[in-house]
Amino acid sequence: MGEKILLRHEEVPDLCRLSVYEADGGYAAARKALTQATPDALVEMVKVSGLRGRGGAGFPTGVKWGFLPKDSPKPRYLCVNADEGEPGTFKDRQILEHNPHLLLEGILISSFAIRCHTAYVYIRGELARAARVLEEAIAEAYRAGHFGHNIYGTGYDLDVYVHRGAGAYICGEETGLIESLEGKRAYPRVKPPFPATYGVFGCPTIVNNVETLACVPAIVARGPEWFKSIGPEKCPGPKLYCLSGHVNRPGVYEAPMGTPLRELIYGPQFGGGVWRGKKLKAVIPGGSSVPVLRPEEIDVPMDFDSVAKAGSLLGSCGIIVMDEDTCMVDALRVIARFYHHESCGQCTPCREGTGWLHRVLQHLEFGGADPDDVELLLRVADNMMGNTICLLADAAAMPVRSFVTKFRAEFEEHLRAAGGPRRPAAEAPLAAPPPP
């Protein structure tokens, strides 16, 4: 696929400016949708296109929209999940910072399709530049009549607001995001009820990822069949891949869904191979929370179904490449530290389990581990998985299970050697204990 949809800004300079975006054909799809299509037809179009949510779960977007109750007297809301926080993932940020009008056009069409008049963009606190760019784009779009009252003379009204988070991974969980948006602590909600019936302020709400909504204008402009023709039939469309770690050319790449992982790592137009001529040791294909793959497992098409079949998850497409010198115990310790830091603390297994995993991995890496600590890691991870309100516990447990299972010898070696090969000073605890 030569033509870029999501990273169009790489081909058109200054695409973040409305005049450039419009000159490039921008907002034509939105105008077409609002003036020529009905909301139901648009929902159907997205269903037919096969678009699946790019946030990580891969749920069909049109089907999700269809879950909104038909007869609720309450207002509806669209929440854009721009709380991109999964380690190894930095794709939505590209759209937000460089192609904001693509997202806004997607918001406009999608809001019209689901009959909502207020859209919130919940943007990760750390993405300060993205928030600024987006705010400027929104102001421009309002002035040009793409938002506000009586858009394109159709009588349709839509307001869009940017809400900045304060730096918590859990706000990316859709109900945690909703709580945070409401001004509360981002504790994910017990489900049911689901956001489609009980979301923001208790009203029917759709939460969609930035990249998902950025696909919508092209679906309307070129038709669902075009979209479906890109990549695998059950999982079509353009996709952003985030490459990081020990590759020659880290970055965000746009390619069809289903591009083989090996090609993404080694292809000259993508990662360009493992750095410094090193051999590959492991790859995390979908952000830090998904099971790690060994070098022999990377001949897998990068789509939701294929990666799942290979025993991992496409997740947020954060491909983290690790070379042969990587200490897998230390790598896992860093991941565990992240989830320990980010667990919201609501559910017992996650609150206590994330800290426990981190502690055991610190012992394995820095010394002080017990002989059964490798088994303990697996047991704690097992006891966390599937037993909590949201998936953060699973996100913390899955890498532990896969790292330990697939690189067990290295963990056992750490036990024998009472620590890892490098012995840096023990890191400071996550938070100093409060004064007594």
Binding site: V190, C347, N387
Partner: protein
């Protein structure tokens, strides 16, 4: 009304019931920490995970509504294993300081550990996350953040019941702690409830801390005697001493709660002014005497007074008395004492307040009972006036101190104008100090009986322990006087008095102690 299967047994429950409630109907306990029937569902403790057919993941019973045809399993290996896992997680950072913890013995961590966990701790104390301890967060409440399992029951109570929201969660992950919001104190009038609903020893009540190990305490169901609401309570006591009141669930009255004022009112039922012996005034001062001597004296004075004219004897009965006591006194004065007047007294201190949650401005437990038995406050004025005119030769004051009602000057004037002043009460007070005879009564904790609350619900109190020395229930005292005044019927128990009451007083018609039970029975219309 869905019918579902739990552990192989069929049960039909009301629409909207959750699986904890449905299982409870079958006598199956699904363990839980964060769920409380009086609060919103939080779903955070994960202790109530159960297996539901056709659902791949375990589901929390608290947030799962019973549905037609649902098949639930609570006793499988998978469920047992997850309970053990959750307990291991809960105890990972717990200080396990049971020997010095006030909650020991009524702690759900201890209980469920014994039921489902029973494995040694893997985490040495120095590796645990440490938080703040012995935090003075309110007039009555002490918080230990390390013992806290973050179930958020206290937070939800303060958000949803008192709407005062003093407590919140701070930090995240295993550093999360419950604490006061800046500038606040947990000083609302219902603060003690957070201690009751805390499943562990994180919240303790200063009034009870370190006073008793809970397994030494006996529990007796009763009704709070400190206002007209009549919150259902348990008296926790040992060897004739009350250690605390705890609310007892009654959906029609107090749900699961009680106010701090009522909770701490147990103190006024013990203490220095407690009367244990009968007293008669001899040579100008009250001297302890035998019951027989006191009863003979009182009976003789009442007989003389009632024989002297139509209002020669009179009684004042307060709304602190039980229905049985009120009935017994009224019956004695109207019957054996030939229609002597009986006045009801329902007095609350000036400025007494209530609220829309539970507290009532009427600080008497039985004002409604007094009225239902035909005694209204209007008669009091007439009796006092008659006494002031010197027409009353013997005044029988039952469970009341007239000083705060009349003022000291009028009380003394009244004293000078009546021949004999008889006071029956559990504690000494200004009126008793002026009496010619003082008869010691049991407190509400020492006798059986009933109160009628503000909404007309007749509720039982039970004797938690016997009264001290010579004190006894009012109806017994009246029965003794009745025997001396020629009343042939002599009731043998509070229940027998109540049976007579129900037979003669229409608002109580058909009621028995059995029908009242532990949830109360409403007065008939017109009561």
């Amino acid at each position: 009304m869905p019918t579902l299967e739990i552990d192989g047994q069929q049960v039909t429950v009301e629409e909207g019931a959750n699986l904890i409630q449905a299982a409870d109907r079958l006598g199956i306990e699904i363990p839980h920490y964060c769920y409380h029937p009086g609060l919103s569902v939080a779903g955070n403790c994960r202790m109530c995970l159960v297996e539901i057919e056709k659902m791949p993941k375990l589901q929390i019973a608290c947030n799962t509504r019973a549905a037609e045809g649902m098949v639930v399993r609570t006793a499988t290996e998978r469920v047992r294993a997850v309970r053990q896992a959750v307990l291991e997680f809960l105890l990972r950072n717990h200080p396990i300081d049971c020997p010095i913890c006030d909650q020991a013995g009524e702690c759900k961590l201890q209980d469920y550990y014994m039921d489902y966990d029973l494995q040694p701790s893997r985490v040495p104390l120095e590796e645990k996350v440490h938080k703040r301890k012995v935090l003075d967060i309110g007039r009555w409440i002490v918080l230990d953040q390390e013992r806290c399992i973050l179930c958020t029951r206290c937070i939800r109570f303060l958000d949803e019941v008192t709407h005062t929201s003093e407590l919140g969660l701070f930090e995240r992950g295993d550093r999360t702690a419950i604490d006061l919001f800046p500038g606040m104190r947990l000083d609302n009038p219902y603060s003690g409830n957070v201690v009751d609903i805390c499943p562990v020893g994180a919240l303790t009540n200063k009034d009870f801390r370190f006073r008793a190990r809970v397994w030494y305490l006996d529990h007796t169901p009763s009704v709070c005697p400190s206002c007209a609401t009549g919150c259902n309570i348990e008296i926790h006591h040992r060897a004739g001493e009350i250690f605390r009141f705890r609310p007892r669930e009654n959906p029609a009255v107090n749900r699961w709660w009680m106010c701090d004022e009522g909770r701490l009112s147990y103190k006024r039922f013990q203490g220095e002014q407690r009367l244990g012996r009968a007293h008669l005034r001899r040579d100008g001062s009250l001297q302890p005497v035998s019951w027989e001597a006191a009863l003979d004296f009182v009976a003789e004075k009442l007989r003389e007074a009632s024989a002297s004219g139509k209002a020669g004897a009179a009684a004042v009965v307060s709304a602190q008395a039980t229905n049985e006591e009120i009935y017994a006194v009224a019956r004695l004065f109207r019957g054996a004492l030939r229609g002597s007047p009986v006045a009801g007294l329902s007095w609350s201190p000036p400025g007494a307040t209530g609220d829309e949650i539970l507290r009532d401005a009427d600080k008497n437990p039985n004002t409604r009972g007094l009225r239902a038995l035909g005694l209204d406050a209007g008669a009091l004025g007439a009796v006092i006036e008659a006494a002031m005119r010197g027409e009353i030769r013997a005044l029988f004051v039952f469970r009341a101190d007239l000083e705060p009602v009349l003022g000291a000057a009028r009380l003394h004037a009244l004293r000078d104008r009546i021949g004999s002043l008889v006071v029956a009460d559990s504690h000494g007070h200004a009126t008793a100090a002026l009496a010619d005879a003082v008869l010691p009564l049991a407190t509400f904790a020492e006798m059986d009986g009933t109160y009628t609350n503000r909404s007309g619900l007749v509720q039982r109190i039970h004797a938690a322990f016997p009264p001290p020395a010579d004190a006894r229930a009012g109806w017994e005292v009246v029965a003794e006087l009745g025997a001396r005044l020629g009343d042939g019927e002599r009731a043998a128990s509070a229940e027998a008095v109540f049976a007579k009451l129900a037979a003669s007083e229409s608002p109580f018609a058909g009621m028995t102690y059995a029908t009242i039970g532990l949830r109360g029975a409403p007065l008939r219309q017109g009561g």
